[in-house]
Symmetry: C2
Subunit: 547 residues, 2 copies
C-alpha cells in the first residue's frame, strides 16, 4: 500500500482539532479532536486522543503565536471535551503503524513539546495547562511541557502515565525525563506514578509535584482566569503587531520539491537526496521596520521555514532516502550581510523570533535520522548562518582547486551562540570540541576562509582537488548508502552530540532510544504483545525474561 503523503503545513482556518482564540495578551488553545478526521484509516481519535495530524496543528499554533501574536503573554491549553483533557497518542494508531512511523511520530511530538518550552524560556510566554478533565499518557506529557499545571477536582479527573502498566511501552514524549528532571518529582514517586494505570487525582498529585494545584469544578475556570490575569498584569510588554505566516509555496515533480530558496532533488534509486539552500538575491532590508514590512518573505524566515518543511517531508514521506547532500548556492556576502543585520537588531522581538526559529530548524536537522554530507564547491555560500549546515553535517567535502573559482567558507557572529544545539553548545564547539583556541581566533577574525584554511581549522573532512572531486563524491555517496541504515542512525545519534547533555538531549537520546527498543520488542508489538492486544478481548502475554 502506498502511504498518502503527509503535509506539515496548516493554518488556524484549516484546524480540525484545535481552536485558537486570542484575547489581548491571552491565547486559549482548546483541544477538540474530531474522531473521524484521522491521518490514516483504521482508528478513531476518541477522547481527545491524537495522531500526527493533531500534533501538526498544535505545532503550527505555537509557531503562529510567536510570529503572529507576539503580544500574547499567557497561553492556556485546555480541552472542549467534558471530563477529558487528552487521552494521549491514539493506541490503535500506534498499534497499526510501522516501527519507522511510530519513531518519527514520537520525534515530531517531542519537538512540538520542546518548542513550547523554547517559547516559554526564550520568548517569555507562559503556558498554562488547564486540565478540565483527565490527562493521561501523552495528554499528561503535553501538560508537563507547560509551565504550570492545574487539574479540576471533580472526584474523577486524574493525571496518569499508563503506558508501562497498560501498553508495555514507555511514555514516549519526554514524560519520564520531565518528571524527574523538570518537575523534580522524587524518583521513587515517579516510579509509582509511572506504573499506576489510573494515575493520581488532585490532592496527592499536588503533593507529589505532578500538578501545581487543583480546583473544584465550580471554581475551575475562575481560578485559571485569576492565574492568567496575574501573569498578564505583571507583564510590561508594549503591544506589538505580528507578521502573518503565509503558506509556503513549492513545485513538485516525481523526484523534486522546489521552494523559492530550498530545492530538494531525490535520487531514490541511489537512496540519496540533494538539498540546496539558495542565498537571497538582491538588496535585503537593514532596519527592523523594513524587516517587519517584508514579514515572512524576509529570507532568514522564509528559507528556514522551507528548510524545516523539506526536512519533515524527508523524514516521514521519504524513508528510503538515507543520505542528504547539503549544498548552498549564491552570494556569501549576502548571507553575511543578513547575519549582520540580524545581530545588530537582536533585541527586537521579531529578529529574536527569527533567530530562535533558525535555531529550532537546525536542531530538527541534528535530530533527523539521515546522514548529512555538506558539499562545498565554488559558487556555494556556506557562510554565517548557512555555515551551520556544514557544521551540522556528519562530514563535509570541499573542492580544493577549480577552474570555475575558489570555494570558501565564512563565519559570522551567529556561529558562536545564536543557534545552539540541543546540548546547549554552539554547533562549532560540538563539532570540534577539542580545539577551542583556534576557534576563538576565528571568532576574532570572521573572515573568508579558503580550502587550506578550512582544513587547518578542522572545518572540513576532505578536500579533494578537481581531478578527484566527482569520483570521490560519487564513491562517498555509494559507500554511505550501502551501510546498515539502523547502525547509521545509532552511530550518528551518538557522534552528533559530543559534550554536555541537557533535558532535551536526554529526551532525544536516552529516553527515545529506549522507547525505540521497546517499540520493536515482542512484549509490545508481537502477536501477544501489550500494544497489539490493547482494547481487545485477548490479553497480553509476556516473555518475562529481563534484558
Amino acid at each position: 500500500m502506498l502511504n498518502p503523503e503527509i503535509l506539515f503545513q496548516t493554518s488556524p482556518e484549516q484546524y480540525k482539532h484545535w481552536k485558537l482564540q486570542i484575547s489581548g495578551q491571552v491565547a486559549t488553545l482548546s483541544m477538540d479532536v474530531q474522531e473521524d478526521e484521522t491521518l490514516a484509516d483504521g482508528y478513531k481519535l476518541k477522547l481527545n486522543s491524537y495522531d500526527l495530524g493533531v500534533d501538526i496543528e498544535l505545532a503550527d499554533a505555537v509557531q503562529r503565536l510567536r510570529f503572529e501574536h507576539p503580544q500574547v503573554r499567557a497561553v492556556v491549553i485546555t480541552s472542549l471535551k467534558p471530563r477529558i483533557f487528552c487521552a494521549g497518542a491514539n493506541i490503535y494508531m500506534l498499534g497499526s503503524s510501522s516501527h519507522a512511523f511510530k519513531v518519527n511520530f514520537c520525534k515530531f511530538t517531542n519537538e512540538t513539546r520542546c518548542a513550547i518550552e523554547d517559547d516559554s524560556k526564550h520568548s517569555g510566554r507562559r503556558y498554562i495547562a488547564a486540565l478540565n478533565g483527565t490527562a493521561s499518557g501523552g495528554g499528561y506529557e503535553l501538560a508537563i511541557a507547560c509551565d504550570e499545571i492545574y487539574l479540576v477536582d471533580d472526584g474523577n479527573s486524574a493525571v496518569s502515565l499508563p503506558e508501562v502498566p497498560l501498553l508495555g511501552v514507555l511514555p514516549g514524549t519526554g514524560g519520564l525525563t520531565r518528571l524527574v528532571d523538570k518537575r523534580k518529582v522524587r524518583r521513587d514517586r515517579a516510579d509509582v506514578f509511572s506504573t499506576l494505570a489510573e494515575g493520581l487525582r488532585g490532592k496527592r498529585a499536588k503533593e507529589w509535584g505532578l500538578i501545581d494545584d487543583y480546583f473544584p469544578t465550580s471554581k475551575f475556570q475562575e481560578s485559571i482566569d485569576a492565574r492568567v490575569k496575574r501573569i498578564v498584569d505583571v507583564s510590561n510588554l508594549s503591544l506589538q503587531s505580528g507578521i502573518k505566516l503565509d503558506p509556503l509555496k513549492f513545485e513538485t515533480t516525481g523526484n523534486s520539491r522546489n521552494y523559492e530558496y530550498v530545492k530538494l532533488t531525490l535520487n531514490r534509486e541511489r537512496r540519496y537526496a540533494d538539498l540546496t539552500v539558495h542565498a537571497p538575491n538582491g538588496p535585503q532590508p537593514t532596519t527592523v521596520e523594513e524587516i517587519h514590512e517584508l514579514g515572512d518573505r524576509y529570507w532568514p524566515l522564509q528559507a528556514y521555514r522551507e528548510l524545516d518543511d523539506a526536512l519533515l517531508h524527508l523524514r516521514v514521506n521519504e524513508p528510503l532516502i538515507g543520505l542528504v547532500c547539503l549544498r548552498t548556492e549564491g552570494d556569501a556576502e549576502q548571507v553575511l550581510a543578513i547575519d549582520q543585520t540580524l545581530a545588530a537588531n537582536r533585541h527586537h522581538w521579531l529578529v529574536g523570533e527569527i533567530f530562535l526559529h533558525m535555531a529550532r530548524v537546525m536542531r530538527r536537522l541534528d535530530l533527523t535520522a539521515k546522514s548529512f554530507f555538506a558539499i562545498v564547491e565554488p559558487g556555494s555560500c556556506f557562510a554565517g548562518n548557512l555555515l551551520e549546515l556544514l557544521l551540522a553535517s556528519d562530514r563535509s567535502y570541499m573542492l580544493r582547486d577549480s577552474d570555475s573559482g575558489e570555494a570558501a567558507l565564512g563565519f559570522s557572529e551567529l556561529n558562536f551562540g545564536a543557534m545552539p544545539m540541543s546540548n546547549g553548545l554552539p554547533r562549532i564547539k560540538s563539532h570540534s570540541i577539542a580545539d577551542g583556541r583556534k576557534l576563538d581566533e576565528v571568532f576574532g577574525g570572521l573572515k573568508r576562509i579558503n580550502t587550506d584554511e578550512a582544513e587547518e581549522l578542522g572545518l572540513v573532512t576532505f578536500a579533494p582537488d578537481d581531478l578527484d572531486w566527482e569520483d570521490e563524491i560519487r564513491l562517498a555517496i555509494e559507500e554511505r548508502t550501502s551501510l546498515s541504515p539502523d547502525a547509521l542512525t545509532g552511530m550518528e545519534a551518538s557522534l552528533r552530540f559530543a559534550g554536555p547533555e541537557t533535558l532535551d538531549t536526554k529526551i532525544y537520546g536516552r529516553l527515545t532510544a529506549w522507547q525505540n527498543w521497546i517499540f520493536q520488542r515482542p512484549n509490545a508489538v508481537g502477536e501477544k504483545g501489550a500494544l497489539t492486544n490493547y482494547g481487545k478481548p485477548t490479553k497480553a502475554e509476556f516473555d518475562y525474561k529481563r534484558t
Copy 2:
C-alpha cells in the same frame, strides 16, 4: 537447552586468556586468548577475540591490581599474539547469543572498561595500551579506555571500529562516546573512522587523535619501556604491600545462594528474589593496621564483594527474576561504626580502595536491569553505606508500627559523596533532586531516623502499618512482576538517573540503548542481517528504510 551457570570469580592462577606480570611498579597484562577455551559451544576465539569469559579475567586482574599490588603505577596492556592486539568481541559468539545475553555481555564489558578509568582517575595507576598489532572493534575500545595508546608501525597494524560497515551494529563498549567525548576526536573524523572497515594506521591515526603515538617494530618495545619508565620515575609513592583477595565462599541450593554476609533467596515462580545483606557481627577493626591485617575479610570489602557477585549472578544466570527485594539485617550501630572508621582513615590507600569498590558495586546495582524494592523492617540496618541500597531502589517500603520494635534508617558521612552514582551525584541527591535543603539539615545531624521522619524527609515511598504490611508487600511484588519486563527496563533506566549526564551515563544510557535497539533489528540479526551473515558466503541484505 539449559545454559550452564556462568561464574564470575577467577584468579590469576586460573586465567586462560591473560598473563599478569608484576615487576616493581609496573604491571603487564598480556592478552593471549586460547581459542578453544570458550564459555559456550559454537565459536572459536581466534585473533584474540573475546567472549564474556575473557572479560571476567580482565575485570579480575584490574581488581587485583588495586588490592593486591597497590605499588603498581603503570599498567601495560598488550598482546602475546604476533601482529594482532585484539580483534574485539567474537562475532560468532554474538551471532549465536540471545538478545538478553548480548546486552548483558556488553554491560559487563562496559563496566570493566569504566573500572579501568576509575582506577586511573582515583587511584592514579596509568594504563598504557601497547598495541603491538591491529586493534579492531572491542580491541580498540579496550585501548581507548586506557590513558595512552601506542601503535606499532609495521606497515599493516591499524586501529579500527568496523562494527558499522561490517556487522551493521555499533561499537558496543563505549567506543563512539569515548571517541568524541574522551579523546575529543572531531565528529566528522569520528564518522569517517567509524565507517572505515580497515581503520587507520600510524600517521593518520595519530593526526586524528585516535592514538597518542606510533613506533616502528624495531623500536616498539623500547619506546613503551621508556614511556613506562617516565611514569614510574615521577611517581613518589612509597612502596605498600597489598592484601590478598581470596575466593568468595557460598553455599547454594536450587533456590538460594548464601555467602557469609549476603543471602539470596529466589522465588522463581513469582519472579522475584530476596537479597539480604547482613551487618557485621562483633567488634570491628578501628585502625588501618587492623584493617590491613584482616584484609579481604574486613566487612566492607567482603560484604560488597559478595553483593557484586550476587548481582552478576542475578543478571546473567537468573533472567526470569524481574524484581529484587533488598533487605538488611543486623545492628545499624555496627554499620555506622564501620563508616566512621572508613571516613576517619579515608586517606589510607586500602581504605580508599575499599570506598571505591563499594561505589563501583553500587553503580553495578544502579545499572542492573531488575526492579529493586527496599524493605525496611525492625531488625533491619539501612544505615550509612547500607542506606545506599535503599537510595538505589526504585521504591522503598518501611514498616510503621510493629510489636517487634521500631524500624529505623540512619545516615553517615558516606551518603554525601563517597559513593557517587555514574552521573557523579551522591545517590541521595539523585533520589530527591528537588530538596537539597532538607538533606543538608540531615547531613548536619547524622541521626537515627524513624518512620515518620523518613517520610517527612522523603526517604521512603510507602510506610504501611503492621496490619497492612504483609498484604501490601505481597501485592506490590505481584503487581511489579506482572508488568512488561522491557517497559520496566526502559522506565527504570530513565528514572534512576535524574540530574547531570557524564561520559559513563552517556555510554550506559544513549549508546547502550541504541545498541540494544540495533541488536534486535532484522538488518543486524535477521536471516539476512549483517551480524547473522558475517563470515558466511551469503551476503547481508538490508531493508534500507531509515528509522
